[in-house]
Amino acid sequence: MADQKNARVIRKANAFEILNHWVMAISFFTLSATGFAYLFHIAGVVSFFGGPMGMKTVHNYAGLVFAASLILTIFSYLIEALSFSGDDMKWLMKGGGYLSRNAAVPPQGKLNAGQKLVYLMVLAAGAAIAVSGLYLWLAPEVKSRTLSMHFLHNAAFDVYLMIVPFHIYLASIASPGSLRIMINGTVPLEWARKRHAKWAARMT
């Protein structure tokens, strides 16, 4: 029975957060695929989504899902992301320890400084893309405003395209043990003590 001992894990994401994460990811990919089809007139994608009007419906309603999902993330992450400490600053100066194999970094809270910044950028760019998208959908009549909303929609899209690949890479391959947070929500206690020491200390 000696090796029957249970693994000590701690919960980092609850069921609601996990579900909302995947709702956001799927709506984001749908919006990006249709968005690219708009930008570069990719006929294959347009017919995949049921022709021009079908794709517009998909893009606009996926936009609503994305916007709702974004609002829900606020309850999970905003307070944590805004609590920026001196350790966070030092963590950033050291590139989060990602710049070499065995760099030591200051202890982090539930989110590390990089994650906090990514969340704030996702929130800001997401708000911009959702507001401009809703405007283009519902009130395109005022011409000069429409043009600036179209501009904002695309600028925010660019921001997303530059953040999201890093987010996916850093949360999966680059940081083994992270992905399970968005699958079953828990992490080994050992892992938590290494990556999020302050939070692990608070939780146990």
């Binding site: 021009p52 395109p140 043009l147 179209h150 690949p165 680059a174 939780m203």
Partner: protein, 263 residues
């Protein structure tokens, strides 16, 4: 075969509006109720069922007699068409081999972005919210016929033909300014003006909106360059530095036990 154009010469126009009628007839557009606004000009701007119209400009002159300028107006069929650049829908706005800008309503997704981009205020929308504008009678020109408006014009104020020939013709006739010769990649609707374009109710220097140019040259390519760059940097990191190597490699535990003190 070179680019074709329409040459409008307000000085030759007598304001009969035959072009307006011929356009409605060929394109099967319903008439619309007009209103007396103190001028023969009607309607006051292009509409979804009025693809061309004659602008009536009355100019005071030194001799005391007013000078009438009749300016036939329609889509300018821009060489570098803002509407086409911004349109997100594949195949909704197209350019014919002659250089005319045409609409395929079945592909239009009613987003109205074209109206926000066009420097001339041309795009109008029908009852189904589809873009509805002059297509230079592409269905006529494809078989060698001139557009209905030019065909009907009794004075030669509207002339259709090879763009270069029309420009040469107007210059030889002594017109000071060929409006649209070079603006916006050259307009497909050219004007032979005696005076400043302003006098005829036209923008002195029509241009693509600045933000649209930036979008076209920077934001649009940045979408795939940014995405590609981010992916490439991730890959470089993976190869050069690699993943964090601090996984606790303890013997396979059997069952997780949560130890959170609270949520």
């Amino acid at each position: 075969m070179g680019r074709k154009s329409l040459l409008v010469s307000p000085e030759l126009c007598i304001g009969c509006r035959g072009c307006q009628t011929a356009c409605k007839e060929w394109n099967q557009l319903p008439g619309s109720k007009t209103e007396n606004r103190g001028s023969f000009e009607n309607p006051p701007e292009l509409t979804a069922t009025t693809f061309n119209r004659v602008r009536y400009v009355e100019v005071a002159s030194s001799s005391g007699d007013p000078r009438w300028l009749f300016v036939s107006q329609r889509c300018m069929h821009c060489g570098d068409a803002a509407c086409m650049n911004i349109c997100p829908s594949t195949g909704a706005i197209n350019r014919t081999a002659d250089g005319a800008i045409t609409v395929d309503k079945t592909k239009c997704i009613e987003c109205k972005l074209c109206a926000s981009a066009c420097p001339f205020g041309t795009p109008k929308f029908d009852a189904q919210n589809k873009l509805s504008k002059c297509g230079m009678c592409a269905d006529r020109t494809a078989s060698g016929l001139p557009p209905a408006c030019a065909k009907t014009c009794p004075t030669g104020a509207l002339r259709y033909g090879e763009r270069e020939e029309l420009i040469a013709l107007a210059k030889k006739a002594g017109y000071a300014k060929i409006y649209g010769e070079n603006d916006l990649g050259g307009l497909g609707t050219l004007y032979a003006f005696r005076d400043e374009p302003k006098l005829y109710g036209m923008d002195e220097k029509p241009a693509m909106p600045e933000s649209l140019i930036f979008w076209q040259n920077v934001l649009k390519p940045l979408s795939y360059l940014g995405l590609g760059g981010a992916l490439a940097l991730s890959l470089v990191h993976l190869v050069a530095v690699g993943p964090k190597k601090d996984e606790p490699k303890n013997d396979e535990p059997k069952k997780d036990e949560e130890v959170n003190k609270n949520g």
